[in-house]
Symmetry: C2
Subunit: 382 residues, 2 copies
C-alpha cells in the first residue's frame, strides 16, 4: 500500500473546503460570543478516568487509548468535549452563578459513528451551567438555531424529545445494564417487536408505555397523545409540559417530536433536541439538558447545551464565492513593496508571481493585477 | 489522585487566554491569506509510515502511536504538520507551479520539547512549494515577520543559519548515523570540547571547519569571518551568499547569525531562520528551506516555510482589553427579544440575566445594560 494512503474514515481537508470551514468556525464562535459564551480549549489528551467517568460505554468504545510515557498511566484522546467542559466548570472556574462556555476543536473516534462518518469530527459546542430552569434549555436551543442560521443552511427542523420519559417508564424496575442498553437500542431503532420481546416480563404500565413511545413521533399532537397513552407520573407530566413550553418559544423553526429518540451520548437527563437541515444525512446538532454531567467531578450543576460537527455542517451550508485576489510581479523596488504591503493591510490577497513562474495558472481567482503606470503602482482589472 | 488532574505538560486553556489565542489565530491566518497562502487541514491521525517517512528519529520519538481497530495497522498522532502538508502538495494538489499552503491545528508530543513546554502545541505554519530561488526563502521569512507584527509582540530578532554548511563540512566522510547525531547535538549545544573529541579522526578541513562553526555567531561580520575560516566549496559559498542576500532584504528586523544552530527537525536543507521576541524562553518561529521534505511521497519539490506555537506566542503577545458587554434582563416580550437580537447582529455581546440570578457578579465586563424606557428598550451606561 502506498505511503500516502490515509486510514479509513480519515481525510485531508483541501483549500476550498478548509476556507469555508474556517469561515463557518468564526461565525459560530462569534454567534456564541454574542450570547456571552466564553471560549475554552480543553486538551486533546486526558487521563482515562477523567475523560470517561460517568459517560457510559458508548464513549468508552469510541475513545482511543494511549500509555503516557511520563507517568505510565492510561490516557485517552477525547471523543466528545462536553465532559471536559463540565470538568472545567466544576473545578477550574468553580463559579457560583451561571457560566456560559463554548469550544471548537477536533475529537477522535475509534470507529465512525455512522457508515460514512469521519473519525475526526471538528466539534463545536456551547454549554450553560448553573440554571435549572427552562430558560437555559431555551437559550441553548435558540443559540444553536442562530448558529445554523448564521451559516446559511436551508430550512431547519427541530426534533424534540425528553430523557425523563424513558426514565419514568423504567423507574423502580430492577433491569440490568445489558438489557437496558438493548431496550435503548430498540427504542432508538423504533423496533417494536424487539422492544416487545425485551419487555415481556415488565409490568404492564412500563411495557405499554415503552411500546407507545415508539409510535409517538410527528407534530405537536404527539404531546396530547402522549398525555393520554403514557402512565401519568410527575416526571412524565414535567417532561411533556417542558417540551410544550420550549416548542411554544421557538420562532421561525419547524418543530416536530420523536419521544423515543435516544441517540447520542448517555448523559442527557431532561429535554433533548436534534436539528435537521436539508441535505444532511443525520441531525446537524444534538443538544439538551444534562444536569449530572459534572457529578463525577464533585459538582452536580444544572447544565444544558449542544454540539455539532463542522465537517457535517460545511457539507450542507451554502457555498460561498471565492474571494478574488490581486496578482503582483516580484521585485525589490521599494515602491512596489510598499504598494503590496498597503493592499494587504486593506485585507486584499496579493499573490506575488515569483521569477520564472509568470506563465503559470493562478490557483486563486486573480481578477486584478498590480502594474506600474509611469512612476506609480496601480491596481487594474484583468 | 483526583479524577480531574491532567497529565503533566497538558493543560486547559481558560477563557481570557483562549479568547486571545483565537484572535491571534485569526490574525495569523488572515496575514497568510493576504500573501495568497491557502488553508489546508491535514488529519490528526495517519498511518505511521506516511507520518514519519524521511523525517528522522527525533520526530519518531515525539510521536504517539496507536493501533487502528479498523485495519490493525499502526497509526501516529501528528507531532509536526510540515510532513503532512508536503504530502498534500505532492499527492493531492499535484500542481506544476508555485503552491502556497498554510495550516493551524494542534500537534501532540510524547515528551515536552523543553523543560516547561506543553505536549500539545497549537501549530500554525505556512509553506511555499515549487520555487527553488531565494525569493521563496525571503517570502517565508517576510510572512513570518508580518505574522508576528500583526500580533504585537516586541522587537523581533531574526537569527539565521544554513543547513548546507554542516553538510559541506561532512561531505564525503563515512560517518555513521549515531556519531552524526552526536556531532549535531554538540554543535547545537556549542560544546567545543565534545565536538573536538567526536571529530578527532576527521580530516583537518572538516575538523577545523566544525570547530570554527561553534564560534560563528553574532552580527553580519560573522559571514566575513566564515568566508575566511571555513574551507571553500561551492556549497559553503552558496550558503554564505544566500544568507547575505536574505539579510540584506529584511526591513525593520534585527538580524543576527548562529551558523552552528541545528535545532528543530532534521528536514532542513538550506537557509534556516529562528525569530525571537522579548519575553520568549526560546525562538517563537523556526523556518527555512526543506527541499527534500516531499521526496518520500515521490515528488521532490523545492519547499520553504516556517511554523510557530500559538501557545508560546500568546504568552509574549501584548494583552488586549476585554471587549465590554451589555447586560439584559430575561423576558418573553417580543420588543425585548428583538432589541437583543439586533444588538447581537451588530456584533455586541448581550448577556441575558436568567430569572433568579439578578444579583450574581458578571464574568463579562458589562459596561452597559438594556433597559426599558417607556415603550422602548434602550442601552444605557452602567
Amino acid at each position: 500500500m502506498s505511503a500516502w494512503v490515509l486510514p479509513d474514515h480519515i481525510a485531508d481537508v483541501l483549500p476550498s473546503e478548509a476556507r469555508h470551514i474556517e469561515e463557518l468556525r468564526r461565525e459560530l464562535l462569534d454567534t456564541a460570543r454574542g450570547y456571552g459564551y466564553e471560549l475554552v480549549m480543553p486538551p486533546l489528551l486526558e487521563h482515562l478516568e477523567s475523560l470517561l467517568s460517568g459517560t457510559g460505554e458508548a464513549l468508552d468504545l469510541q475513545t482511543f487509548k494511549l500509555v503516557d510515557q511520563l507517568s505510565g498511566r492510561m490516557m485517552g484522546l477525547r471523543a466528545d468535549t462536553t465532559p471536559q467542559v463540565a470538568r472545567i466548570d466544576a473545578h477550574l472556574l468553580n463559579r457560583v452563578g451561571v457560566t456560559r462556555l463554548c469550544y471548537c476543536g477536533p475529537v477522535l473516534h475509534t470507529r465512525p459513528g455512522r457508515p460514512h462518518a469521519t473519525r475526526e469530527p471538528l466539534q463545536f459546542g456551547a454549554e450553560i451551567y448553573g440554571h435549572a430552569g427552562l430558560e437555559a434549555d431555551l437559550e441553548a436551543l435558540t443559540l444553536a438555531l442562530d448558529c445554523l442560521r448564521a451559516t446559511q443552511v436551508g430550512e431547519l427542523t427541530v426534533d424534540m424529545a425528553d430523557a425523563r420519559l424513558v426514565r419514568a417508564l423504567l423507574a423502580g424496575l430492577p433491569v440490568d445494564a445489558a438489557v437496558l442498553a438493548q431496550v435503548h437500542a430498540a427504542l432508538a431503532a423504533k423496533d417494536a417487536s424487539e422492544l416487545a420481546s425485551l419487555t415481556r416480563e415488565f409490568p404492564a404500565a412500563s411495557r405499554e408505555g415503552l411500546a407507545a413511545l415508539v409510535t409517538l413521533y410527528g407534530d405537536a399532537s404527539v404531546l396530547d397523545e402522549a398525555e393520554r397513552r403514557l402512565p401519568s407520573s410527575p416526571l412524565v407530566r414535567d417532561a411533556l409540559a417542558h417540551l410544550r413550553w420550549l416548542a411554544g418559544h421557538l420562532d421561525g423553526a419547524r418543530v416536530s417530536f420523536d419521544l423515543a429518540d435516544l441517540r447520542g451520548y448517555a448523559y442527557y437527563t431532561g429535554t433533548r433536541f436534534a436539528i435537521y437541515a436539508p441535505g444532511g444525512s443525520d441531525a446537524l446538532v444534538r443538544g439538551g439538558r444534562y444536569d449530572e454531567v459534572g457529578a463525577v467531578f464533585g459538582r452536580n450543576r444544572p447544565a444544558a447545551g449542544f454540539s455539532l460537527d463542522l465537517r457535517e455542517l460545511v457539507a450542507v451550508a451554502a457555498r460561498r464565492p471565492l474571494r478574488a485576489a490581486i496578482r503582483a510581479p516580484w521585485g525589490e523596488e521599494p515602491a512596489l513593496r510598499a504598494a503590496i504591503a498597503s493592499l494587504r493591510a486593506q485585507g486584499e490577497t496579493v499573490v506575488c508571481v515569483l521569477p520564472g513562474h509568470e506563465s503559470e495558472v493562478d490557483e486563486f481567482h486573480c481578477d486584478r493585477e498590480l502594474a506600474r503606470q509611469g512612476a506609480v503602482w496601480t491596481v487594474r482589472s484583468l
